[in-house]
Symmetry: C2
Subunit: 195 residues, 2 copies
């Protein structure tokens, strides 16, 4: 067949394969619980070959977490930019985060658990991105529920992240049901609870 003409949805590059495998392993065993050889053999190569693609193990985690944070921030900003009204925007934001969590359970887990294993510069960068993402949520929450104080909105946003990110720890429902459940609970908690 003709080369490079198939409807292949972007064959993942080796770097991406490695990051995906590493994310799975980091999520299951923790950053320090995974060896360089474990990651290598998870993608069919062995051990030090990884250093053809990454400068260090720390760099893998750093790239992984900054990528996640950028995707979240970017997606959040997009939802806000196409705002139709405060309540719809909040709904879009919730649905976006729910979809991301359901589609990337390993990444969500790593971001939640392994922030402390980043190098200092990487952690600063990721923290900054995360802060901007939270600020988006704070503004949208306060637009939808105007009586909410800013610190309360921030705490509520974190609580909703916890609710949604709990996904990886429970697989009792199928994807669609889970999405509806989490979206409903998150929106109800944000808009009907006494904040």
């Amino acid at each position: 067949m003709s080369p490079a003409a198939e409807p292949v949805p972007d064959k993942p590059t080796r770097r991406e394969q490695i990051l995906a495998a590493a994310a799975e392993l980091f999520a299951r065993h923790g950053f320090h619980g995974v060896g360089i050889d474990d990651i290598g053999s998870a993608v069919g190569i062995s051990g030090p070959a990884l250093y053809r693609h990454f400068r260090s193990k720390d760099a893998m985690l750093g790239e992984m977490l900054t990528a996640i944070s950028e995707v979240l921030l970017d997606g959040g900003q997009t939802r806000v930019d196409s705002a139709r009204g405060p309540h719809d925007t909040l709904g879009d934001l919730v649905r976006f985060h729910v979809d991301f969590a359901l589609d990337n359970p390993a990444l969500i887990t790593v971001q939640e658990r392994n922030l402390g294993n980043l190098t200092d510069p990487d952690r600063r960068k990721v923290r900054a991105l995360q802060r901007r993402y939270v600020e988006i949520w704070v503004e949208v929450i306060r637009a939808a529920v105007p009586t909410t104080e800013e610190p309360t909105a921030r705490a509520a946003a974190h609580a909703v992240f916890g609710l949604i990110n709990s996904t990886p720890h429970s697989r009792h429902l199928d994807r669609a049901q889970m999405a509806d459940l989490l979206t409903g609970m998150a929106l109800t908690a944000l808009t009907h609870a006494p904040l």
Copy 2:
């Protein structure tokens, strides 16, 4: 002053000191990210002295997590035993878990993140205890919101755990406000969302 007559609330034993320090460290750096020497120096002794109190590093984590699971299960059972009505019982359960999470952020974090670092027998034991705790929640949820299917109730329980356990990651409010916020969000999500 007279020796051993003050209102000291049970001076913590050495084992307890060690477990508390280890919990803090495990929460911050992950199980494999903490060395035996780190734990030792956190309680003022150094390194291998820990082996006078625990058989291994694994045993510390094991004892820590089984203790947490037993406290939760026990507290949950107590709340159910003194039930006055479905809604009150659910409220008691939520408030109990919120209090525990706010008072023991490190323990909650360790239980969430480091279950995978337990030895197989320890993990089985902890999992069994956790399952029983979740089943308490499932029954109470279904009593308070009778239209809820069992798998949905289980997923909702996990989601609420995620919401409440998000506490350690956000300290924007003082304890009382945080307790009210989390309790309100959890109860609203459970009883007013379309489960």
